[in-house]
């Protein structure tokens, strides 16, 4: 039995019912069945070609030091070792900095963080490679290391110069306001903890090129860097990504170094080389979310409305620039979150430290910037003695306001969204109940917070806001689509397939999305900045429209009708002729077009309109639109231990017109929990010499199922995007992460209750039980009159 007849309904059936899997419908992830059966192939699951070797990397044990000598003789002699490479063995470019230079593929002369690659080993097994690297003898001369943001700020030790955005006379506005307040928060970073660690499989090709299978969000960058280290033109290197076992930004730039090293080994040996980082190596050697030290001074009236703001954000960039320039920029862009800072100055510092180079992580600095806005709202609310929600509401942007970087606020439905959540979560009623609960419980306190999220959508590097796609229709009507985006679990392939199916109004199972491949769609942007569907969906739609136009032209010519007479409906093509409606199954129609020599393949392309940012003048419209959302969380804390649990969370989030509600809700829930983890249990710790001591899941704790709020209501804000995005949807990858802030502020609210809400106790993040207990003790001392 043929595939068509066994898997698909007959055309008569498909004519009568709507096409399956259209946009706006819950549709399972394209790999869902393969996920649950274990048939989905990740890099480490690929069949190994004969002669495949395994790579491991020797690492620096000093944060900042001169390398006096490196004796690798024992490494080379270790069982199973085939080859060892160092800096000088790299034939081409030796600096693999993704945007700015500064990342030597291997350290040479000096090391600048613990875990920095010194050399790589290829051995016949993973274990042999790992055992061999331990045998290196390296002598160092230790140099003074800068490990903290504070020290870098004092020394003005930066990877890039500071950037300032300003609007109006902020100093006068603050000074002339009825009240002034200053504050500070240290926001620790976050480990991505994608379940699949960094992995690549590099296979030499017959023309001295390389085929690279990698778990990367940015195949084109891997392609470019591999070609550079091998001193080849880019067209000699082909990169393919079927799927990642999670990315979250951690595989935007951080996938490339290992692929480059493996490519150098594969090139020397002409043998395939596989690399997958052991979890601890991954945690030590790859960048994380930046720590930020944020400070503010604000002026405000007695209602808590801001008059002026002066904000400083400082990101811990690590030893090299990586993407830190854009990340600190995005923190600056989001230091207002949902609020009008009024006359304002925002300064962003890019601090250099002798630690691993921090990198993209869901939100890309935005969350860390947002933290300062929420801190301000909370601190001001305690100062004026109002419910923090009321202070948030009076400070919300209004349409027509201008941000501190010059972007006009449009289509800003935040007040309505908050109001809806306030009602649905019964905020006021629960606030009263909590106040009574707290008065009658000495050792258990509850807290409540409702926080909004406004997140700018677009890469702030303008050129990245473009995408390509490739669509083929075969003679049976089945469709193949390829695009520049990568699948990391977010459902991009599913959504793009839905878009293509929708364009031709055919069943979703007629559409197949294949691995991201630099041979099919070139010069792609990373799948990042929440832009995957916005960019690639539009590019795929563009390709469909090209083919569709050809099909319509063909029908017009063949049936002597004008284009308005041709429609695509329920897996069919309908042509309104003088004699009535001619009806063709999509497949037969396509075959007829083929027989009449119509091209059934097209590329598609998209670039985001309207956006620009003038860095020199710190002004522009960096974002095409804003994604909005809000969360309300209630927590309970134990004032003797600082332990806590989240009791309930309600979320309303704005995805525009949803292409796939099930996938969008999955992104919102996952983003919220990840954001909550960042601000509660996930704590990165380094020792005094710069060793990461939270280096595995035994001591770095991401949320488990029991950390999920037992009452967890997530709803979509039902409103189409006012901008012309793909089907008027909105990006959803990053924004929900910041919904987790409601948990942090609910914890702070619970601690503040100890002092009758008269003080905003300091609560740096992550708010571990230890920090919550410290906040409680601060409030207790405040109540006792000590502070």
């Amino acid at each position: 039995m043929s595939f068509m007849s066994s898997k698909l309904d007959a055309y008569e059936v498909r004519r009568k019912r709507p096409a399956k899997g259209k946009i706006g419908k819950d549709q399972k992830h394209e790999s869902a069945d393969k996920h649950v059966t274990g048939e989905a192939v990740y890099i480490d699951d690929m069949p190994e070609l004969s002669g495949t070797l395994h790579m491991a990397v020797g690492q620096s044990s000093e944060a900042h030091a001169e390398i006096l000598s490196m004796d690798l003789s024992a490494v080379k002699a270790a069982p199973g070792v085939i080859d060892v490479i160092v800096y000088d063995d790299v034939p081409g470019e030796k600096d693999i900095g993704p945007v700015f230079k500064g990342d030597p593929i291997f350290a040479t002369g000096k090391v600048e963080y613990i875990g920095q690659p010194l050399f790589a080993v290829a051995a016949t097994s993973f274990e042999e490679a790992k055992r061999a690297v331990l045998l290196a003898k390296v002598e160092y001369k230790t140099l003074p290391a800068v490990l903290e943001i504070e020290d870098a700020l004092k020394q003005e030790f930066f990877v890039h110069p500071p950037h300032t955005q300003s609007k109006g006379d902020y100093a006068a506005a603050i000074k002339n306001a009825p009240n002034q307040l200053s504050g500070e928060i240290y926001v620790k970073g976050q480990e991505h903890f994608y379940l699949e660690s960094q992995a690549s499989y590099v296979v030499p090709t017959e023309d001295k090129g390389m085929k690279v299978y990698t778990s990367s969000q940015h195949p084109s960058e891997v392609q470019k860097l591999v070609s550079e280290v091998l001193d080849l033109p880019i067209n000699y290197v082909q990169v393919e990504v079927r799927r990642m076992g999670g990315g979250f930004g951690g595989k935007e730039t951080q996938a490339a170094p290992w692929a480059c090293m493996a490519a150098v080994l594969a090139n020397r040996l002409r043998q395939p080389v596989k690399v997958r980082l052991a979890r601890q190596d991954d945690m030590v050697m790859t960048g994380k979310r930046h720590d930020f030290l944020n400070r503010y001074t604000v002026g405000f009236d007695n209602q808590g409305k801001l008059h002026g703001s002066d904000i400083m954000v400082a990101g811990k960039c690590g030893y090299s620039p990586d993407l830190s320039n854009s990340i600190v920029d995005r923190a600056m862009f989001h230091s207002d979150n949902a609020y009008n800072l009024q006359d304002a100055r925002v300064v962003g510092n890019r601090c250099k430290t002798h630690t691993v180079s921090n990198t993209a992580f869901r939100g890309f600095g935005g969350p860390q910037g947002t933290m300062v806005a929420e801190l301000i709202m909370d601190d001001v609310a305690r100062f004026v003695g109002k419910d923090p929600l009321d202070v948030r509401k009076i400070n919300l942007y209004q349409d027509g306001d201008i941000t501190h970087y010059g972007q006009p606020i449009e289509h800003y439905h935040m007040a309505e969204l908050i109001e809806q959540l306030e009602n649905e979560s019964e905020y006021r009623k629960r606030r009263e109940a909590i106040t009574i609960f707290n008065q009658s419980n000495a050792y258990t306190k509850r807290g409540l917070a409702l926080t909004p999220v406004k997140f700018g959508i677009s890469f702030t590097a303008q050129h990245l806001n473009q995408a390509g796609a490739l669509v083929h229709i075969y003679t049976d009507g089945s469709i193949h689509v390829n695009h520049g985006g990568t699948e990391m679990g977010q459902g991009l392939f599913t959504k793009v397939a839905q878009i293509v199916a929708n364009e031709f109004d055919v069943d979703l199972d007629m559409v197949q999305v294949s691995s991201t491949n630099t041979e099919k769609v070139p010069n792609t942007s990373p799948t990042a900045a929440s832009s995957g569907t916005d960019l690639n969906g539009k590019a795929a739609q563009n390709a469909c429209m090209t083919i569709k136009q050809r099909l319509v032209e063909f029908a017009c010519e063949k049936f002597s009708v004008n284009s308005g007479a041709v429609t695509f409906e329920n897996n069919h093509v309908l042509i309104q002729t003088d004699k009535g409606v001619e009806e063709f199954g999509f497949g037969p129609f396509v075959e007829m077009a083929y027989m009449n020599r119509v091209s059934l393949s097209s590329t598609g392309y998209y670039k985001t309109p309207k956006i620009y940012y003038d860095h020199a003048n710190a002004t522009g419209r960096p974002f095409f639109y804003f994604a909005l959302g809000a969360a309300c969380s209630e927590v309970e804390i134990d004032t003797l231990t600082g332990e806590y649990q989240v009791l309930r969370t309600d979320i309303i989030h704005d995805v525009g017109q949803s292409i796939n509600p099930a996938i969008d809700i999955g992104q919102i829930e996952g983003g919220f929990i990840q954001g909550m983890g960042w601000l509660t249990t996930e704590e990165l710790n380094w020792d005094e010499s710069g060793h990461l001591i939270s280096n595995g899941p035994a001591n770095y704790k991401i949320p488990t199922s029991s950390d999920m709020p037992p009452i967890f209501n997530v709803r979509l804000f039902d409103r189409a995007n006012d901008e012309h995005t793909i089907y008027n949807s909105k990006a959803v990858g990053e924004p929900p992460l910041m919904l987790g802030m409601s948990v942090w502020l609910a914890l702070r609210d619970a601690a503040a209750s100890v002092a009758d809400y008269k003080v905003a106790p300091p609560l740096d993040t992550p708010a571990t039980p230890e920090r919550v207990l410290n906040a409680v003790m601060f409030a207790q001392q405040h109540k006792a009159g000590a502070v």
Partner: protein
């Protein structure tokens, strides 16, 4: 040679490195790739597989375990099902179908592990015809599975829905063990279970006398109980042990006996098995055990291993201190009994002599005047290592505290008593003020360190507050 059943096929292996884990074996030798390596430390659950065996009540059940740290040799005599074995022809298992229908996977990397963990719950509950599961049941089943994408709600929904689908047929691989094939006694006959490769050995003694002979001959051999800590030396530090003795088939080490006065637990009783045994006499201890590691870890890890391993952050030793437990140590020379207080000499240093092993733990039952309070302080509720663990046995007559035993983990290089705190409670009025006063002694009892889990100051403060919390709970709440 060792023998086990893998997805319905009996497998015999002999020439395999004894240091190989189940996961290494499945992925390398069998190309069974559903189980993934996420951390190689038993913390993420992506490697979860199902191991079937008869439970202490003689019923067949499956347990999800971490294939990444469990040794292949520990499978001898077991019935193993991986995710590859769940589908019946093209029909997904109910757990798989529910996960698809409820959108329970995103990147999919953790998914086979989650399917395994839920399938254990599904199978074991179906056997008991208890097809309603609570959120708590699901959280316990999933306590060892990290998902970084979904936020778990969809997975919870799938778990609630999994019983709504038609059960696998009796021909399904997962049902074969109990229905047709599983006969461990017949299977073991004539097999001297061991692995040997390149001069490295793994032994699976069937009795204590065999164990004693092996230990006499190879005093340096690694004794492998659950291996949930020891396994990490292989998978994280890439050590290779020359001789490993796996205790998992010695029936006498799994024996539990109860009398009026005490419960005697064989050293190889796993955490999971102990939950039922201890439920009646020590409910607060069972609540703690539910927070030790994850379900997968508790299915592997043993009480004896937790004690004999000698780690200062093991969760059960402070409880055993507070309960005045006795340890039974055995060797070829005979048995001896020792108070647990005398067992620890220093960091990972114990009183075990060469050739000696821990045979049993003897727990005196509480008198009606005594109560046991246990507090575990960690960043995360499930599957976390304690920053501080406190166990207290308080005895009172309603007016006076007549005895107090307070023991802590995480506060010193070994588990130990808070001696001054205990003294400060003894003979004092049974009132909160006594506990508040005594709590000041914690700072004299301990000088903890700062580490990745907590600062010194927090450890001291929280331990002090836990003494007060004990008082509050003892006195009946606030």
């Amino acid at each position: 040679m060792i023998r086990f059943c893998l997805n319905g096929q009996w497998v015999e292996e002999s020439d395999i490195d004894p240091n190989w884990t189940i996961l290494r074996y499945l992925r390398t030798n069998k190309r069974q790739l559903a189980a993934k390596e996420g951390c190689a430390g038993g913390d993420c659950g992506a490697c979860s597989i199902l191991v079937g065996d008869l439970n202490p009540e003689g019923q067949f059940e499956y347990q999800a375990i971490n294939g990444c740290i469990a040794l292949l040799g520990s499978l001898h005599g077991k019935y193993v099902v991986t995710v590859e074995g769940l589908k019946e022809a093209e029909q997904l298992h109910p757990v798989q179908q529910a996960m698809v229908d409820k959108h329970g996977s995103q990147c999919g990397f953790c998914t086979p592990g989650i399917v395994s963990a839920l399938t254990a719950l599904h199978f074991n509950r179906s056997q008991q015809s208890a097809t309603k599961v609570s959120d708590h049941d699901i959280h316990v089943a999933l306590s060892g599975n990290l998902c970084r994408c979904t936020g778990y709600r969809s997975i919870m929904d799938a778990a609630h829905a999994m019983f709504e689908y038609p059960a696998p047929s009796e021909h399904a691989v997962i049902n074969q063990a109990s229905v047709v094939q599983f006969d461990p006694a017949a299977m073991k006959q004539g097999v001297q279970p061991s692995l040997e490769s390149q001069g490295r050995h793994l032994y699976v003694p069937q009795s204590e006398s065999e164990l004693q002979e092996l230990l006499a001959s190879y005093p340096d051999a690694k004794i492998w109980a659950g291996g949930t800590d020891l396994g990490l030396e292989i998978t994280q530090q890439f050590k290779q042990f020359d001789r490993i003795i796996s205790l998992h088939q010695i029936a006498s080490l799994k024996v539990v006996t109860q009398s009026q006065k005490e419960i005697r637990l064989g050293a190889m009783v796993t955490y999971s098995e102990s939950e039922a045994v201890l439920a009646k006499s020590f409910p607060s201890f069972v609540q703690l055990i539910e927070r030790i590691g994850s379900r997968q870890i508790r299915n592997l890890g043993t009480l004896g291993g937790n004690v004999a391993n000698g780690s200062p952050i093991g969760d059960t030793p402070p409880v055993f201190f507070a309960l005045n437990a006795k340890l039974v140590l055995a060797s070829k020379q005979g048995e001896r009994e020792i108070a647990i207080q005398d067992f620890y000499h220093g960091y990972k240093q114990t009183d075990l002599k060469s050739g000696e092993y821990l045979k049993a733990i003897v727990l005196p039952k509480l008198t009606p005047e005594q109560s046991l309070y246990i507090y575990k302080i960690s960043k995360r509720k499930d599957d976390d290592i304690s920053a501080v663990l406190m166990a207290c046995v308080i005895e009172h007559n309603g007016k006076t505290i007549t005895a107090a035993r307070v023991a802590c983990g995480g506060m010193a290089a070994t588990p130990c008593h808070a001696v001054k705190t205990e003294q400060a409670l003894m003979g004092k009025p049974f009132a909160l003020s006594s506990f508040e006063k005594a709590s000041d002694c914690i700072a004299q009892d301990f000088s903890p360190i700062k580490d990745v889990r907590a600062t010194k100051e927090y450890r001291l403060t929280v331990a002090k507050n836990l003494v007060i919390k004990t008082g509050l709970e003892c006195l009946g709440g606030q």
